[in-house]
């Protein structure tokens, strides 16, 4: 009694339980995986179609076909990890607030944010994750330069930063359900916000796009989350000026700030929670 739970072991238990649950409904799991992969292929088909008309996305941006596929692979990796680890939990969290089932999570002798964020892993997200890794490997073989070991290590680090930024945004949005009573449009809002990070930030460098660029780079840093790791692999890595270090440096700061802010929002929201059950 009174001992702190071993969080890593609890996480492994969550993963195993989720796998057992998914394997209980194998056909459903298979269809989920196939449909997720189909969506990846449809997107890939769309971009292949675009590149049959143009050599690059934007003039003099350096986002050629395979560079863009590295970007796409990075988006896939971050999205799949976020979907697998957190998406279903965030939706469930909103529902627990509405029904009052959050009481059970609050009573457990473990950090509530950890419990509600990770208790269910969506194994069907492994399909698109694998597609992302394959696309990454395939595209790396076709870009003009070969990333070094430092770039590879930094890439993994920044992908994880991207996952943390996305997670922070998602859990903050889900926590607002406590104040709103319900947040049925969580998935829609999530889709609309992350939609802005689907393309390289250079495409917004014109007219009204600058406003979007600043908002989604610095205030809701979804563009930072994807663009920093993607650029590490897609473009030659030769930081010489302060400006070259600015965005990667900001990405680290944005990760820490996003996590801290989301933790604060989560705890503030919990203070306002009134059980819905009788």
């Amino acid at each position: 009694m009174g001992q702190r739970p071993w969080y890593f072991r609890v996480l492994l238990t969550f993963l195993r339980n989720s796998l057992v649950r998914d394997m209980t409904f194998r056909a459903n799991f298979l269809i989920d995986t196939v449909s997720s992969i189909s969506w990846v292929f449809m997107n890939l088909g769309f971009y292949l179609l675009i590149f049959s008309y143009t050599p690059t996305i934007g003039a003099r941006t350096g986002w050629g076909k395979y560079e863009f596929f590295l970007f796409l692979a990075t988006t896939l990796l971050i999205n799949s990890l976020v979907r697998g680890l957190f998406l279903e939990n965030a939706v469930e969290f909103s529902e627990q607030i509405r029904t009052g089932a959050l009481d059970f999570a609050l009573l457990k002798p473990i950090d509530t944010q950890f419990l509600v964020s990770l208790n269910r892993f969506e194994w069907a997200a492994v399909g698109p994750l694998a597609c992302g890794l394959l696309l990454l490997a395939y595209s790396l073989g076709h870009v003009e330069h070969t990333p070094g070991a430092l770039q590879a290590v930094l890439y993994v680090f920044y992908v994880l930063c991207g996952v943390v930024i996305y997670y922070s945004l998602m859990i903050s949005m889900a926590a607002t359900s406590i104040w709103l009573g319900q947040n049925r449009n969580l998935l829609d809002f999530w889709f609309y916000v992350t939609n802005f990070s689907r393309y390289p930030m250079e495409i917004y460098e014109k007219g009204l796009g600058f406003a979007l660029l600043y908002v989604f780079t610095y205030f809701i840093p979804v563009l930072t989350a994807v663009n920093v790791p993607a650029r590490l692999l897609a473009k030659p890595f030769s930081p010489t000026t302060l400006a070259d270090w600015l965005l990667p440096g900001f990405a680290v700061a944005a990760t820490a700030i996003s996590l801290a802010v989301s933790r604060w929002i989560f705890n503030r929201a919990l203070l306002s929670y009134r059980s819905a059950s009788s």
């Binding site: 179609l49 675009i50 609309y192 939609n195």
Partner: protein, 270 residues
């Protein structure tokens, strides 16, 4: 006949009142649905810039940048007619939990009832969504060359096609217990093949021929292409006739699915 008309009118009135409860949600949801088009506008701008079209260079599959943006905005109107959120999954749910039996014991035809319900849904949707649509289309008026030709109104057929196609899909629930995954797969294919994702005449052969042989193009691509003047004359007449044939096909299929489905349906419990 007057009694039947009175019933239909009552159903429509109740459905309208029910739908008006969520008018705020409708308006916000409609405005939000334009957001993905913003990113598409920037993506296509980057593509046209790369091929030098902004300096009088080429076009993409016959589309200028203005055409492309207009196309995406117009598919929003097509989808406002043809999309049937929750219809197929609602029918499948009614079959699974036994609610469908109310249509078997009451003198109300399920397809007719749900059609009126959907008409009410759309009427309220247009009433509320007209504000966000007017705002967005006014802001983007430079992408359009003028008012739509009268034949664009025939896009209303997309409503009937969307309704009977999705109703048929929902009634697969009479044969399969769980159809949600199947509906998700349909949604993916529909997004890609209806022209919602991109104009389907961008596709190379044989993919273009394959997609054009499906009814899905009439849900988004065809009405938008008619507006843009890409389908005219004999091609327009042929397209409309084919669309009408698909509507009739799905009316018959939906009726047959309900007829045979209710014959194998078993409901347990009270």
């Amino acid at each position: 006949m007057p009694a039947r008309l009175a019933t239909w009118w009552t159903i429509l009135r109740i459905s309208l009142e029910e739908r008006l409860v969520y008018r705020g949600d409708f308006a916000l949801g409609t405005l939000m649905r334009f957001l993905p088009i913003v990113t598409q506008m920037f993506l296509w701008w980057a593509v046209f810039e790369a091929i030098g079209a902004d300096k009088g260079g080429g076009a993409v599959a016959g589309y200028t940048y203005h055409n492309m943006v207009a196309y995406y905005l117009l598919t929003m109107i097509s989808r406002a007619f043809s999309s049937m959120p929750g219809l197929a999954s609602g029918i499948a749910q009614d079959i699974r939990d036994g609610t469908v039996k109310k249509y078997l014991i009451q003198p109300i035809d399920m397809l007719g009832f749900l059609l009126l319900n959907r008409v009410a849904h759309k009427l309220v949707y247009y009433l509320v969504a007209v504000v966000p649509f007017v705002v967005v289309f006014s802001l983007c008026r430079q992408f359009f060359s003028g008012w739509p030709p009268p034949q664009t109104l025939l896009a209303c057929l997309a409503f009937l096609l969307g309704y009977f196609l999705e109703a048929t899909l929902g009634m697969i629930g009479f044969w399969l217990l769980e159809v949600n995954s199947l509906l998700f797969v349909y949604m993916l294919f529909s997004f890609f093949c209806s022209g919602h994702m991109f104009p389907i005449d961008m596709l190379p052969s044989p993919w273009r021929g394959l997609v054009e042989a499906m009814p899905l193009q009439y849900l988004a691509y065809f009405p938008a292409a008619v507006f843009l003047g890409k389908v005219t004359g004999a091609e327009l007449v042929r397209g409309l006739c084919t669309q009408l044939c698909w509507v009739v096909f799905f009316i018959v299929t939906a009726r047959a699915a309900f007829h045979f489905g209710t014959r194998r349906y078993s409901a347990y419990g009270g």
